[in-house]
Amino acid sequence: MISKEKIKKLEGVARRLRQHIIQMTCAAASGHPGGSLSAADIITLLYFHKMRHNPKDPGWGERDRFVMSKGHAAPILYAALAEAGYFPVKYLKTLRKIGSSLQGHVDMLALPGIEMSTGSLGQGLSAANGMALAGRLDKRSYRVYCLTGDGECHEGQIWEAAMTAAHHRLDNLTAIVDHNKYQIDGRIEEIKSLEPFAEKWKAFGWQVFSCDGHDMKAIDQALKRAEKVKGRPSVIIAETVKGKGVAFMEAKPLEYHGRAPTPEEEKKALAEICQVKEFEV
């Protein structure tokens, strides 16, 4: 069981990561804050509590692997890697700038700590399967985590990969769906419904869990349960809110899917995240 102090600490980390998301996308004047904010608590729990990894040795063979299949949520992963010590936090402001390792979508050759380059949706889960198969072949005990978007689950390849993982009984793999209910063009439910979503995963042979994707304790519990599953892959459908933590973004999830905050909005967002009246940038 995760302690109260630990949860408090993690919530503090998540707040810092959210600040970074706002600041780096504002500095870049582009990027995807909405789907980065919705994944912030999940990423915090993985990188600062759950996963075995070593920022000083990103190539450590026994490390747990994380694949960011929704590659446009790059800002949250960069924020986590910087806070964990993979590179200096001040480098975050180079996001999307020419010559930077912080590409618009994650690039494994550009930045240590990125396990797979993504950006074209639907491919990360297959790659995660490959890593899980390799772990089994090499008799290594690492786990593989893969974060996908919910809109991303429109991609046929997600379901090809779902079949592969179940067929090979990849119990060293956990997929997490950032279920924030919105895609660029609108509410997923209106564009192309995924329902019955949990049943689809079940029918594909996966053990399905769901949790509040903004509740550290709930995420931790779901991950623990997933770890105990034997003989099949597990998926956690994390119920999240697009733009979580910034009220005006939560109110307009479509607008902030792929639009960065203006400097004016940045101040407002940071004040809210840091729980202060005025925020000095």
Binding site: S126, G130, M163
Partner: protein
């Protein structure tokens, strides 16, 4: 009569040998292991073989994940699927990541035959060589295929290797051939024109040169097995020494070997050139030999092309 062996047969046998030598080699196929000849590896190394079913896109990205963990991955299917069906996966998960995945495809080109246009990859060289970081190789015969597959297992990086379905003539003596990626091979000396060829068109180009010799036309034949990185130095040298160029490939005249050679020529030297290949059209069902005739890929087509280009030579 020369020995006839399919390049895919050579691939299957070599893969098993490599599997015995290197436990780090993993093979993936997409429900075509009997045709691509990876079935022999499947039989001997069931733990290191993954049949991904009819899911080429999943296969390529899974291959990338395995390679990201240090495996040397061979992924096989038919050329149409390994290039076209999974192109975005090849681009994103393999080429962009520069991962060590060898995409070895069979049933390339018009000689796929009876299956018809849907299964005849005449565009794959063009779309694969457009990808940064990708090495593209088309072996000329079974002997060369063995060397290519062995070399690919030692060489780090994304590689596309294009094999054929039918049995094709052996043109190499096993002992004296030193294969190097990116280095074309002068198969026959000649002074009046150079025929650059790849795949099964190398054998036909040698035949054409022999025929032309009878008419006192002295043609050089070069096997450009590596389409990317292309052997620029050899192309320019041969073009300048002979003053006329013909390319011959079992692929569309757009973007393949002919395209690659033309790109080198136009930026480096002024030499007339004629392309032999499939015109800008889809194929159809038929016997491989019938299709080669109908689509203009015969020894006679090469002879005609040489005569045409010689008329334009200054």
């Amino acid at each position: 009569m020369k020995d006839l062996v399919a390049t895919r047969e050579a691939y299957g046998k070599t893969l098993v040998e490599l599997g015995r030598e290197n436990p780090n080699i993993v093979v993936l196929d997409a429900d075509l292991s009997v045709s691509t000849k990876t079935a022999a590896f499947r039989k001997e190394f069931p733990d290191r073989f993954f049949d991904m079913g009819v899911a080429e896109q999943d296969m390529i990205s899974t291959a990338a994940g395995l390679a990201a963990c240090g495996k040397i991955v061979f992924a096989s299917t038919f050329a149409v699927f390994g290039s076209g069906r999974a192109w975005d996966q090849v681009r994103m998960s393999v080429a962009y990541t520069r991962l060590n995945v060898k995409i070895v495809v069979t049933h390339a080109g018009i000689t796929t035959g009876e299956d018809g246009a849907s299964h005849q990859a005449n565009e794959d060289i063009a779309i694969m060589r457009a990808l940064p970081n990708m090495t593209v190789i088309v072996p000329a015969d079974a002997v060369e295929t063995v060397k290519v597959i062995r070399e690919a297992s030692r060489f780090y990086g994304p590689t596309y290797i294009r094999l054929s379905r039918p049995k094709t003539p052996i043109i190499y003596d096993k002992k004296d051939y030193d294969f190097k990626i990116g280095k074309g091979v002068v198969m026959r000396p000649g002074k009046e024109a150079t025929i650059f060829a790849c795949g099964l068109m190398v054998a036909k180009s040698l035949e054409a040169a022999q025929e032309l010799k009878k008419k006192n036309i002295d043609c050089r034949v070069v096997n450009l097995h590596t389409i990317k990185p292309i052997d620029k130095g050899l192309i320019v040298k041969c073009a300048e020494e002979t003053g006329a160029v013909v390319t011959a490939e079992e692929h569309s005249i757009i973007g393949g070997l002919g395209g690659a050679v033309a790109e080198v020529l136009v930026e480096n030297t002024c030499v007339p050139m004629v392309r032999v290949g499939v015109q800008d059209m889809f194929g159809e069902s038929g016997k491989p030999e019938e299709l080669l005739v109908k689509y203009g890929l015969t020894t006679q087509n090469i002879i005609k092309a040489v005569k045409t280009v010689l008329k334009r030579k200054k």
